[in-house]
Amino acid sequence: MQTLTVQAIPENLAQVTAFVDLFLEALDCPMKTQLQIDLCVEEVFVNIAHYAYGDATGDAEVRLCETDNRVELTFIDSGMPYDPLARKDPDITLAAQDRQIGGLGIFLVKKNMDTVTYCYEDGKNILTMTKQL
């Protein structure tokens, strides 16, 4: 398993993405799949950076592992308990004028990964997603 811990601020997105891409490239991950995973990494990390710690700041830990060409990415923060999967999916059939943008990020994560699970343990939010390469 590979682990990266960074301060959960949007400015660290590039560092997190580079960490994940390096891991995926070593597995000969197809470019299309890598872009899909990059998208999910951005949506999850930026959510933590924007909301987990309110006005304060804290760490986000990223864990990567792979078994039988299936990658597992885990994001851990110690912010306020929040289950992003509990949120209702956005209505994607509304006209532009009625569209709200909120919720699209986690919706994209659900669409692009094979599995996404959330749990709150020992004061930590733990979001785990997997995808077959």
Binding site: V46, P90, A96, I101, L108
Partner: protein, 99 residues
């Protein structure tokens, strides 16, 4: 991400190249906010855009709303496959005019 803009006779063309993400979306938002008031038609050329996240979708939606409010038109051209998949997944193919 690179943002190239051109305004000719009220037709504002914005070419995007690279990655439209949380980091680069504020630059695009600034561009559209500043330039849409002078445009009758807005054309996004996405031929060189490799990636967008929900941060980018938010800007496309905002641009569409701004253009609709002023009675203008907005078109999105040359959408590459990875971006088109995101548009399809989120129903943006129904709210944007993609050519």
């Amino acid at each position: 991400m690179d943002i190239m803009t051109k305004n000719e006779n009220g037709i504002l063309t914005i070419e995007l190249a690279g990655r439209l993400d949380t980091t680069s979306a504020p630059d695009l938002e600034k561009t559209i906010t500043e330039q849409i008031p002078q445009a009758q038609t807005l054309v996004f050329d996405l031929a060189q855009l490799a990636y967008t996240s929900s941060a980018g979708l938010r800007i496309f939606l905002k641009a569409q709303k701004l253009m609709s409010q002023k009675g203008g038109a907005m078109k999105v051209l040359h959408v590459a496959e990875p971006i088109m998949e995101i548009f399809e997944m989120t129903g943006f193919t129904d709210i944007l005019t993609i050519e």
